[in-house]
């Protein structure tokens, strides 16, 4: 941690003239958050050519390239920071890059310090620190059009003279100042400059007993006030500005909270309404492609690999794209206009109670739709600890993939009886209860983690509430594009790989003779039962119907598929885990279904269908759904007449799926977002343990109450 940012940067002497041998010059973009730095990046370099992480840290490195007057320029966007006295990994990266301390990252040839013209005093804090490094520097005065409108007059020439570096007014949507900024960079790299002096006299005026860093901060503001005297003129505004009035309303205790609730409701209902048809469309297209591929290839291992492994995996990836795109569109719009920080401001107290912060709200709320965009939205939390904690608990929110599981089991096994009121039925109460289980678990886990492994000094919530402004469509679209692309590229490939592994486990070993033997055994049992039962009973009719269904081509194919899966590695794993899942009231087939649904929990319905010898089922189809329900109701423990699916078992399955980490995509995205495989492993372990314990308690208490 550097406490004194002043003093020349590492090897200042001996720098060869830059930009002459055809190599691009490296220009770093430094600035406070919310100063229009991203907008300036897009205006200069367009779409970034590279987005990655700095070596060894989880701090995003964004690099773009462009040419100015024939000179190739590599633009490096440094993390937004308020100071060069680093207090967070992001700030440390900015400091290390500027001082040439980051291995493999060269000292920039020139620094553009982005300074918000509407808020020059605080922005010059970082700017004067950067000027103290002695690197070639240009100051870009962003939002100068907004400053004009607010009646803030800045004498740019005089400011440049006092700071000893060129100051260029830019107004990004209009493209004002982009050319002069490029010229100033080319001029700056040719003429070495000395570190800016002037802090020392002010240091003398501050109590020498204080911490050096605190002394410097106080002295620096004194110096800035002196630097700006006579440079900035504020015309007293005629009354309060529209932005200030909006702000007063939207951060008001009552109206602000109501407006916030309305915004969130509108945002999430529109994500639901807009993304659902798109997701259905993608699923339909993927089904059509699968059908096409299946029709073109002969039945066999290759077809099965392509259709059930690869295409099913790809479908499982692309289906998330609409939700990710929609959510990031909203988040970028809210962030662009300045509302995101107001939302964090309003929700901070509530989330503070469980050891999180206001900025965790949007990621957690998004996770009710899907944890993947939610975890990605946690990027807006600058604070590492809060961000990690939010990512770890986000998958506990009941996402839309859990809903089919809840609906099926609630519909089949929870008695449809009124609870207190005639309109309030028990299945609905259980359904709401499942959502509550997730929220309560998330609150408890956050509380426990923040008091144990994430214990540390209190995390400051010192957050700027940026001025209201119109979102820049370029920045908004870039956020959406980048979110979708990073998901497809990094997470997508891994999710497909995991799907292929699960397919292989469910498909091999594959022995036709063993399958024939099992089919014959099942049919034999059914025939024997039919002969045992009295000829006029309902049971007899049902068994006869079952035998007739089995003797059709579809029935036989379904039975063969089930037999193949039971004999596969997955089936063996199911039997292996039976001792573990038996206390939850599950038989080995449920254990098997739980393992098979590791890539995505919604797969559990399909797996249950296969494993209980049903053909492909479409849960949306009334006929197929009720067929699955009938099969599940009829299922018995191996070798007994005891039913597998009782109310306690159904509840224990629901609780397990509410809390477990059965979603490979989520784990892969956690790995990508934290840049480590430790955190997905931690998430999987704690969620699986929690799910098991809660399901165990549910089953045992349920059985005790029921018995």
């Amino acid at each position: 941690m550097s406490l004194t940012p002043d003093g020349p940067a590492a090897p200042a002497g001996g720098r060869s003239p830059v930009g002459r041998d055809g190599k691009p010059i490296v220009v770093a973009l430094l600035g406070n958050p919310n100063t229009g730095k991203s907008t300036l990046f897009s205006a200069l370099a367009g779409i970034p050519t590279r987005i990655g992480n700095y070596p060894g840290v989880t701090v995003e490195e964004k690099v773009g390239r462009y040419t100015h007057r024939g000179q190739a320029i590599e633009l490096v966007d440094l993390p937004g920071t308020y100071s060069l006295v680093a207090k967070s990994p992001d700030e440390q990266v900015a400091v290390d890059v500027l001082r040439g301390r980051l291995a493999g990252v060269p000292i920039p040839d020139c620094v553009i310090v982005v300074a918000d013209a509407t808020n020059l005093e605080r922005n010059l804090y970082l700017a004067t620190q950067a000027l103290g490094l002695g690197l070639p520097t240009v100051i870009a005065l962003t939002l100068s059009d907004v400053a004009d409108a607010k009646g803030i007059r800045i004498d740019v020439g005089e400011l440049g003279r006092r700071l000893g570096c060129p100051v260029i007014r830019v107004a990004t949507p209009a493209g004002v100042g982009i050319e002069p900024l490029g010229d100033a960079i080319l001029a700056a790299i040719q003429s070495p400059r000395q570190p800016l002096q002037g802090l020392d006299p002010h240091l003398a005026g501050v109590d020498s007993g204080r911490e050096p860093a605190a002394r410097e901060a106080i002295a620096r503001y004194g110096w800035i006030e002196e630097l700006l005297a006579g440079v900035v003129q504020r015309q007293p505004p005629a009354g309060r500005s529209v932005g200030e009035r909006i702000d007063d309303l939207l951060t008001d205790r009552l109206w602000g909270t109501l407006a916030f609730a309305a915004t969130m409701l509108a945002m999430f209902s529109s994500i639901f309404w807009l993304a659902t048809p798109l997701m259905d469309g993608i699923s339909a297209i993927m089904d059509a492609v699968s059908g096409l591929v299946a029709g073109m290839l002969p039945e066999g291992a290759i077809r099965s690999l392509l259709v059930d492994g690869v295409l099913a995996g790809v479908a499982g990836v692309v289906v998330f794209v609409p939700q990710i795109a929609m959510l990031f569109l909203f988040v970028a719009l809210l962030e662009g206009c300045g509302y995101l920080s107001r939302a964090a401001f309003l929700m901070d107290r509530l989330l503070c109670g469980v050891g999180l912060g206001g900025k965790s709200f949007i990621p957690l709320l998004s996770s009710f739709a899907c944890a993947i965009p939610g975890i990605m939205a946690a990027r807006t939390i600058e604070n590492r600890r809060d961000r990690l904690l939010t990512i770890l608990v986000a998958p506990l929110m009941s996402c839309s993939a859990r809903l089919p599981v809840y609906l099926l089991l609630c519909g089949a096994f929870v008695p449809n009886i009124p609870v207190g009121f005639s309109w309030l039925r028990l299945p609905a109460v259980v359904l709401v209860g499942m959502y509550a289980v997730g929220v309560v678990a998330a609150a408890l886990v956050a509380l426990i983690l923040s008091r144990t492994i994430f214990r540390g000094p209190p995390q400051p919530f010192v957050m700027e509430l940026p001025g209201w402004r119109w979102p820049q469509w370029r920045v908004v679209l870039e956020r959406v594009r980048e979110a979708v692309w990073s998901f497809l590229q990094n997470a997508g490939t891994l999710i497909v790989a995991v799907s292929i592994v699960i397919w292989a486990l469910a498909s091999y070993p594959h022995s036709e003779s063993a399958i024939d033997a099992e089919v014959a055994a099942v049919r034999g049992q059914l025939v024997a039962r039919l002969e045992r039962l009295p000829g006029d009973g309902a049971d007899h009719a049902e068994a006869a119907e079952e035998l007739a269904a089995l003797d059709t081509d579809a029935g036989l194919a379904a039975l063969r598929r089930g037999a193949a899966q039971r004999q596969s590695l997955l089936g063996r794993m199911g039997r292996l885990v039976e001792p573990v899942v038996r206390p939850l009231g599950w038989d080995w087939r449920l254990g098997c279904a739980a393992i098979a649904s590791f890539p995505a929990r919604e797969v559990v319905l399909g797996t249950l269908a296969v494993i209980y010898n049903l053909g492909d089922i479409d849960p949306g189809e009334e006929e197929g759904g009720s067929m699955l329900v009938r099969r599940l109701r009829a299922a018995t423990w191996d070798g007994t007449n005891r039913k597998v699916f009782t109310l306690p078992t159904a509840l224990s399955i629901m609780v397990f799926f509410a809390l477990c980490a059965q979603c490979a995509s989520t784990l892969v995205v956690i790995g990508r977002e934290t840049n480590s495989w430790l955190w997905p492993a931690v998430t999987f372990t704690y969620m699986t343990l929690l799910a098991w314990l809660a399901a165990f308690a549910t089953y045992q208490v349920g059985t005790w109450l029921g018995g």
Partner: protein
């Protein structure tokens, strides 16, 4: 008296920020230095953070952070 006790809509002058940790340094770096004038704009519900206006911009800090900021009478 600290910034936490200033009424909504009122303006105060900062006297000092106590503490020597990263939080107090961040408060100073954000411009809450001795002598600066601060207006308390609003507060979030349920005893949430304060919204302040200083040096031409708006800043939000939690109550226990505001309690570290002593104001001049």
């Amino acid at each position: 008296m600290s910034l936490e006790q200033v009424a909504i809509g009122a303006t105060a002058r900062v006297a000092d920020v106590s503490g020597t940790d990263a939080v107090s340094l961040r408060l100073l770096e954000m411009g809450l230095t001795p002598g600066v004038r601060v207006r308390v704009v609003s507060t979030a519900p349920l005893g949430g953070p304060l919204e302040l206006e200083l040096r031409g911009y708006r800043l939000s800090i939690r109550r226990h952070e505001a309690a570290r900021v002593a104001i001049a009478n």
